[in-house]
């Protein structure tokens, strides 16, 4: 459960204030499928970063699963991020010198999960995402779709409750993009909260709940019938 009350995010650029988000009130229930659309610069990524605790609001309160997370210190926020949030990025963000398996394993390593357990969990995910024969390949030896699948595996290996995807299909061709989206939707079917930022209206339309942003505000917030 994600609750934003009166959340704003300002940036200071030189001596100018940029209001990336203005007084956002928003509640996302557990297991929802939400798409966020809007023109460039309207605050979509900023909103996603706030949800994922990568960024802090300038004002307002953010409650995650009933807990006020705006007052947490860096270490506590890192812990929440590690345990509850998974990120998927447009540009994949794989570590180039690590194998696919190692990239997927990374969150488990940071969390201090024992090696044997890590191994079984990584193996399982590689299987699930059709990457079993790519385990030892480095990112530059993988196709775009495979890279994004590795990134999704990495985002979900900690079994987070929220999956945040910022234009996950933006760097992929149409067919591959659809495959990746299907994968994300499959995860949502299993109960994860899925938030997808997209420029593609067709993709955005697939979500049950569609939010449009403009100029740091929520322009519309509609449930599909």
């Amino acid at each position: 459960m994600i609750e934003f009350s009166d959340v704003s995010r300002n940036f200071t650029v030189g001596d100018q204030q940029v209001q990336a988000l203005r007084n956002i009130n928003l509640t996302l229930g557990a297991g929802e499928y939400v798409s966020i659309m809007g023109p460039s610069g309207s605050g979509k990524s900023t909103l996603l970063n706030l949800i994922g605790l990568l960024d802090r609001p300038s004002s307002g309160v953010y409650k995650l699963d009933g807990m006020d997370v705006t007052t947490l210190d860096d270490e506590q926020q890192a812990r929440v991020r590690r345990e509850k949030v998974g990120f998927v990025f447009q540009s994949f963000h794989l570590v180039p010198r690590l194998t696919a398996a190692m990239n997927i394993e990374l969150p488990l390593i940071l969390a201090g999960v024992a090696a044997e357990e890590r191994k079984t969990r990584v193996k399982q995910l590689l299987q699930n995402y059709g990457l079993a024969d790519r385990a030892d390949h480095r990112p530059d030896q993988l196709s775009g779709g495979q890279r994004q699948r590795v990134a999704i595996a990495r985002a979900t290996i900690m079994q987070p409750s929220v999956l945040l995807a910022d234009e996950p299909t933006g760097n992929l061709d149409r067919t591959t993009g659809w495959e990746v989206l299907k994968l994300l939707e499959g995860l949502q079917d299993q109960g994860i909260t899925l938030v997808v930022v997209t420029h593609d209206a067709e993709i955005g339309a697939r979500a049950k709940r569609q939010i449009h942003t403009l100029d740091g505000r929520i322009l519309s917030d509609a449930q599909r019938a």
Binding site: L54, R81, R97, I109, L110
Partner: protein
């Protein structure tokens, strides 16, 4: 995060840039190698050179004609410098504390015996030569009297000359021609080997008076005076100076004590030690700057990765440790390489000069490695802190 995983992650980056990492580590390696080499051979080199110099005994002063100024270099002969004569040497014999006096000249001459000829160094010495320089006569002995007017034609052979000219026979009592004159062999020296570039075995020793005549020299090259070990060298120098001034009317000679020579030698060794030490220090400094540079570059190159790690739930501290660990590992591996190079070169020197003792104390090796780690730590702190304190959102946008 487990320590093993920490090592894997921290090393993954510099392992993927092998050449770059190698060159960075090399700076540290050269510094550590220099330091280790120095500690391994420092004492050995000192002992080696000292023993080379002091094997003739340390309580000896040498008197040479001409006045050398304190700041080195012969000031040139101004006025008339009198040469040192046999009588000068003789006059020192009865000074207090003096044990042996040896007049000395040196030159080359042809030897002939048993139908063989050989050109060697001829030393003209006094009867006390062997005693003054604590050299051993293997058989026979030096001549005992010393009549300067009519020195007898006696010769003592170096071991190599004996071998070359009198192979398989007892040379004592035989005759040998030195520069055409007949000499009777009265002794053979024990083998001494090369000493500071002179092969004493390939030499013969004849009375100084005869050598001066043979070599056509009007003065001695040097007079050596050995004195009682319990006496202060300055007292001996004072007495010798006084006596010779009396005879020459001025101080136109130079007295060099072994102690002074050893002091000069010691300071030369100190300069070498200092130079190698400074080289090591500078190299370590350069190595540290290299690590700082490479880590600053690494942090910039991997900004997006740092953002990603934070997004995956890495704490600031974990990011800090990863980059710090990388810097320390680079430096520590450079240190290990340096230890290997340093110890290797030291052992190589020992192999080339077996007389030079080489010893790498455990403690220093550990200390050197610790300083390498410390350098990595110091050089890594700034870049690692920058990585840790990055804003994760901005870092992620860096790609």
């Amino acid at each position: 995060m487990f320590f093993r995983d920490f090592l894997t992650l921290a090393s993954s980056s510099f392992l993927s840039y092998r050449m770059r990492s190698f060159l960075t580590g090399l700076g540290i390696a050269i510094g550590i190698a220099a330091v280790i080499l120095l500690t391994s051979i420092g004492e050995g080199l000192h002992q080696f050179v000292l023993s080379e110099f002091s094997q003739f005994g340390t309580n000896i002063v040498s008197i040479q004609p001409g006045k050398t100024q304190t700041h080195g270099g012969n000031a040139g002969v101004f006025g008339s410098t009198r040469q040192l004569s046999l009588d000068d040497a003789e006059s020192l014999r009865h000074l207090p504390y003096v044990e042996n006096v040896n007049p000395s000249v040196m030159g080359n001459a042809e030897l002939r015996a048993n139908g063989k000829t050989r050109r060697t160094t001829v030393f003209g010495e006094g009867r006390d030569f062997a005693r003054a320089f604590t050299m051993k006569v293997q058989s026979g002995s030096f001549w005992t009297d010393e009549d300067n007017e009519q020195a007898r034609a006696f010769v003592v052979l170096g071991s190599k000359v004996r071998q070359e000219l009198f192979a398989g026979q007892n040379p004592l009592g035989s005759y040998l021609r030195v520069g055409g004159q007949r000499y009777r062999v009265v002794g053979v020296m024990e083998s001494k080997g090369q000493v500071l570039g002179l092969d004493l075995d390939d030499s013969v020793f004849i009375p100084a008076a005869r050598a001066m005549e043979l070599l056509n020299r009007s003065g001695l090259i040097e007079v050596q005076v050995s004195y009682r070990a319990s006496v202060d060298v300055n007292e001996v120098i004072r007495l010798v100076t006084e006596r010779l001034k009396e005879r020459h009317g001025r101080e136109d000679f130079t007295i060099i004590s072994q102690e002074q020579a050893l002091e000069v030698l010691g300071s030369v060794l100190d300069v070498i030690t200092f130079a190698v030490g400074a080289l090591g220090g500078i190299s370590l400094l350069v190595g540290a700057v290299g690590i700082l540079t490479i880590m600053t570059m690494a942090v910039t190159e991997r900004t997006a990765e740092i953002g990603l790690l934070r997004a995956l739930g890495a704490r600031e501290q974990q990011v800090l440790l990863l980059f710090l660990g990388e810097a320390i590992m680079l430096s520590a591996l450079g240190g290990v390489l340096g230890l290997l190079i340093g110890i290797g070169v030291a052992q190589g020197l020992h192999w080339l000069f077996p007389a030079m003792p080489v010893h790498t104390p455990w403690f220093f090796a550990v200390l050197a490695e610790c300083s390498a780690v410390l350098i990595g730590l110091l050089a890594g702190v700034m870049p690692a802190r920058r990585a840790a304190l990055m804003n994760p959102v901005e870092a992620l946008r860096a790609e």
